[in-house]
């Protein structure tokens, strides 16, 4: 089962906006560590033809002017991301990438200033709530992962009816919990509604999260839990290819 995935190689696009600064980290995690083909794609690119998956990395696109992600959401490449997503392609927005996806309307809601107004950089625990997305494919719901956060505007906010809908449709993908998988206490680092750390669109192929899976793919640096998230996409792509080609 895992054998084809381990050898599978796909083409990942890492979008580079002016001010992106985790682009190299995403590139390294997918390329050097997971052995995938990765290319940087500029914010002014017109299409994403030929890529199997798209990553919107973390950072401070346009210096977070006005609201994090607001200006990047209007970049030419975002039209291409939208087309890529509506064709069912897997899209992952990490941190600033998540903020951009919300600002672009590819994900509902918004990311507001952290409850304590401070930038926070430390590890958190998140519980995988939905296993149907490409980035949680094969991860048992309820699994607790340890990943770093590094953000000042990560408080997920949405109108009550949107939150309700997210819950009902199973669009909450990651939730802040403690090491034992329980909600509450200090587990939620930024005041996010419903302890939301990551969500997906209705179809499930567009995922955004505040924690940084690309920062924890090696034992020496940050741990390895992020490998599971990025590795899930490789397995998902392999499974899809298998479906399409009938395993040939």
């Amino acid at each position: 089962m895992t054998a084809p995935a381990a050898h599978a190689r796909f083409r990942f696009a890492v979008i580079v906006f002016p001010g992106s600064n985790c682009d190299v980290d995403a590139h390294r995690a997918l390329g050097e560590v997971l052995g995938q083909d990765v290319e940087y794609v500029r914010h002014d690119a017109g299409d994403l033809d030929g890529y199997d998956a798209v990553i919107l990395p973390g950072g401070f696109s346009y210096g977070d002017a006005l609201r994090a992600g607001a200006i990047a959401a209007l970049s030419p490449v975002m039209a291409a991301v939208e087309r890529f997503a509506s064709a069912g392609g897997p899209v992952l927005g990490i941190c600033n990438g998540f903020q951009i996806l919300c600002e672009a309307g590819l994900l509902p809601g918004a990311l507001h200033r952290n409850r304590d107004l401070k930038f926070r950089c430390h590890d958190v625990f998140v519980r995988v709530e939905a296993g149907r997305t490409p980035f949680t494919w094969g991860i048992e719901p309820g699994t607790v992962l340890r990943m770093p956060i590094a953000h000042g505007e990560g408080c997920y906010t949405a109108p009550p009816e949107v939150l309700e809908e997210l819950e009902r449709r199973g669009q909450v993908v990651f939730r802040y919990v403690d090491a034992a998988g329980r909600r509450g206490g200090d587990a939620n680092p930024n005041g996010s509604a419903h302890d939301i750390a990551g969500i997906c669109n209705e179809a499930g192929n567009v995922v955004g999260l505040m924690p940084h899976p690309e920062r924890c793919v090696e034992r020496l640096i940050g741990g390895e839990d992020g490998r599971r998230v990025l590795g899930a996409a490789v397995r998902w792509l392999a499974a899809r290819r298998e479906l399409v080609t009938g395993g040939r």
Partner: protein, 747 residues
């Protein structure tokens, strides 16, 4: 005109630009005529203490700056050290004290921006920042406001620009209340054969100014603020505070590194203090050439700027690029691609002159060297403070014996929750210390460790300073600081390779300051030489005083070490219950200048010890060899707070189940000295029981004293001294005051 009137007329001129009459005469001699107003302004700022190092130069020469590992020493924008496999590291430390006192957020932010520019100026990709901070006691609201502002300024610049802030230090003392210190160190990596110099080489080569537009902000800001006492008049300089733009700097980093990776460029210099005046004259005079620029071609942010304003503006996020003739389009193309402006403003000339035009009109023309090499140099009067011996006198302390467990346990708790010893997490949690995923050892350890991209090696980084020790004895204090920085780096298993510094002092016009400065240089030179860590550069910040009250002489050292195998990195926390605890190095320490004396007895007294540099060097060798051999499960430097605090910290950082220690410390002095004494050359290590003998053998071979003091684990910290139980407490109970103190007062 009579002689008196002739002297009176120009008097206003030199004073306005901060020169003395003698300096003005020197200028007229060098120039062979009276300078015009713009020329005088340019000389005034370049001959300021901040830009010319006129009071420190004669002393700085005594620092050792050579060694096989030094690829580029002082005199350029950053020092560069060889890592040995084709990779090199650039390092530099700089102060932004006065701007941070005026506006803590932007003062600190622009300090980060400035030091980063020094790093990518030499062609290095910045990979780490560290900060060394000093404030008045946190009991006062204003000091907390300054701390909060400075931290958010560093975070607000370092985080967006995408360079991790991986370490630092902070101390609180009365003397910094009106004059906080904000020193920032930056480190970058580059291929060893691609060092870029700040030189205007090649007659006819085009000169570009790139990045931000030039505005009226900061005219005279950095240079003048940093070259005078901080008084009421300095308050009036307030509108000149500058705002940093980390987004622009991020683009500038990428564009500059892309450009210098090729061969279109012959020289690069950042625009810092004294802006275009400094960058142009320094690049020209380093190359022994002249330079000609046209201020009319400098992109402006505001209409109606005069040539003076353009030449003296200290607008942030700008760089000077000297390209090869014929490659102009390439320069423009790279910057345009990154959304930045690049304006060609002039050429390198062969006549050694710095010529400034405003369109067709020449508005200033003088030999570039007058602004740089020919600035005045002073050997200012130096004399020790009158109360030096008084400072050394340690009163007799009335204290219970080691058997008073309640007393000593309470003292430890109190120390752990005190401003200078409590956890700094509140600060570093606001810094992105992981971006670029190279940070192997994160803040909170003795030194940060980073993977070096493009190399198999890692580097360890630490900044250390101690104003209290330098005030008590500047020469010994400086030795102690260098030794501590080297030891911190060695505690991770890295071999110290070289250092940079930042020397924060009061007014150089006071003999006491210059005496301390000179002694610090001697001490630093001696220690750096003995430990094989050359001084690759640094920064001097004088005039750190307000209303005649100076800060402690505060030398800060940024140390860089190299580790061959990242798998062998050692951290301070205990790893497993039952591991043997060994105290390596000097068995005894005293209370001079210690936190214990200050916190418990309110005293800053005693003569600091003279560090045995030979022992220190052997201890470092031992740490490096033992780490490489895999004999160390943990290593933690004994510094502020002494053995008891070091033991507690090793418990706080322990792996689950390994917290706690049952130890017996050698009875080398009073209980206070044994528990809380501070002295050099001491490290607490833990080792697997099976490796203990090998470790002791190695220590024996290197002639480093080693005492087996106990074992890790058990959840309690129990310290015996000669049979008496001095400290006994749950680790949890000790942890609370330590971990919560800063967040509590900053809430």
């Amino acid at each position: 005109m009579d002689a008196e009137a002739a002297r009176a007329a120009p008097a206003a001129r030199w004073e306005r630009v901060g020169l003395t009459e003698d300096e003005y005469r020197r200028l007229v001699d060098l120039l062979g005529r009276e300078p015009n107003d713009l020329e005088l302004e340019m000389v005034g700022v370049m001959w300021s203490e901040h830009c010319s190092y006129k009071s420190s130069k004669v002393h700085l020469r005594r620092l050792p700056s050579e060694g096989p590992q030094v690829l580029m020493g002082p005199g350029e924008n950053a020092g560069v050290l060889d890592l040995g496999d084709g990779t090199a590291v650039a390092l530099r430390c700089e102060s932004h004290n006065h701007p941070s006192a005026v506006e803590p957020v932007q003062g600190a932010a622009t300090g980060v921006g400035g030091i980063l520019r020094d790093i990518f100026t030499v062609g290095a990709r910045p990979i780490a920042l560290l900060d060394s901070l000093r404030f008045g006691p946190p009991e006062r609201e204003r000091n907390r406001y300054l701390l909060g502002g400075v931290v958010s300024g560093i975070a607000g610049y370092g985080n967006p620009v995408g360079v991790p802030t991986v370490g630092g230090e902070v101390y609180f003392e009365d003397c910094y209340a009106d004059n906080p210190l904000v020193n920032v160190m930056a480190v970058g990596v580059l291929p060893r054969d691609r060092i870029v110099r700040g030189r205007a080489e090649g007659v006819g080569n085009p000169v570009f100014v790139v990045g931000a537009r030039t505005g009226r902000d900061g005219i005279h800001g950095a240079s003048l603020l940093a070259s005078r006492e901080f008084d009421q008049q300095a308050e009036d300089l307030r509108p000149e505070v500058q705002v940093g733009d980390p987004f622009l700097e991020k683009l500038l980093i990428e564009a500059c590194l892309e450009l210098t990776a090729g061969d279109a460029v012959v020289g690069v210099n950042d625009l810092g203090a004294a802006g275009l005046t400094s960058a142009c004259s320094e690049t020209a005079s380093r190359a022994g050439q002249g330079i000609e620029i046209d201020v009319a071609r400098v992109p402006r942010r505001e209409p109606g700027m005069t040539p003076d304003e353009v030449m003296l503006s200290e607008s942030q996020e700008r760089m000077l690029i000297i390209a090869r003739a014929g490659r102009e389009d390439e320069v423009r193309r790279v910057f345009t691609r990154w959304g930045l402006e690049a304006a060609e403003i002039g050429r390198v000339t062969g006549d050694g002159m710095f010529r400034v035009r405003d369109g067709d009109r020449v508005v200033a023309e003088l030999p570039a060297r007058i602004l740089t090499e020919q600035a005045p140099v002073y050997r200012r009067p130096a004399a020790p403070p009158a109360d030096l011996e008084e400072r050394w006198r340690l009163p007799r302390l009335e204290e219970p014996g080691p058997g008073d467990t309640a007393h000593w346990t309470a003292a430890l708790e109190r120390l752990l929750g005190s401003p200078n010893l409590c956890s700094r997490r509140w600060i570093w949690q606001q810094y992105d210390y992981q971006v670029r995923t190279n940070t192997v050892v994160v803040p909170g350890a003795d030194a940060a460790v980073l993977r070096v991209p493009g190399s198999r090696k890692g580097i360890a980084l630490a900044v250390d300073g101690n104003g209290r020790l330098a005030w008590l004895d500047p020469d010994r204090g400086a030795r102690l600081i260098v030794a501590e920085a080297a030891r911190n780096v060695a505690c991770t298993g890295a071999r110290p390779l070289g250092l940079t510094n930042c020397l924060n002092f009061a007014s150089p016009e006071r003999p006491e300051t210059m005496w301390a400065f000179s002694a610090v240089i001697d001490g630093m030179a001696e220690a750096a030489r003995a430990l094989g860590t050359p001084v690759t550069g640094g920064n001097v910040s004088f005039y750190n005083e307000t209303m005649g009250r100076g800060v402690y002489p505060t030398p800060v050292v940024g140390m860089l070490g190299v580790i061959d195998d990242l798998e062998k990195v050692v951290t301070p926390g205990f790893k497993a219950e039952g591991d043997a605890l060994v105290l390596l190095g000097a068995p005894a320490a005293g209370l001079a200048g210690s936190e214990y004396l200050k916190v418990v007895h309110g005293l800053v007294r005693g003569r600091p010890p003279l560090v045995d540099l030979d022992l220190e060097r052997r201890l470092i060798d031992l740490l490096v060899e033992a780490a490489a051999a895999g004999l160390l499960r943990s290593a933690h430097d004994l510094s502020d707070g002494g053995a008891a605090v070091a033991l507690a910290e090793a418990c706080f950082a322990a792996e689950p189940g390994a917290a706690g220690a049952e130890v017996a410390l050698p009875e080398a002095g009073s209980a206070a000295e044994v528990l809380f004494g501070e002295g050099p050359s001491r490290v607490l290590v833990s080792t697997a029981p099976g490796d203990l003998q090998r470790l002791l053998d190695l220590a024996g071979r290197l002639a480093v004293p080693a005492a087996v003091i106990g074992a890790a684990g058990g959840g309690r910290l129990r310290i015996r001294i000669g049979g008496a139980l001095a400290v006994d407490a749950e680790v949890q109970r000790l942890h609370r005051p330590w971990s919560e103190a800063m967040a509590r007062w900053m809430a």
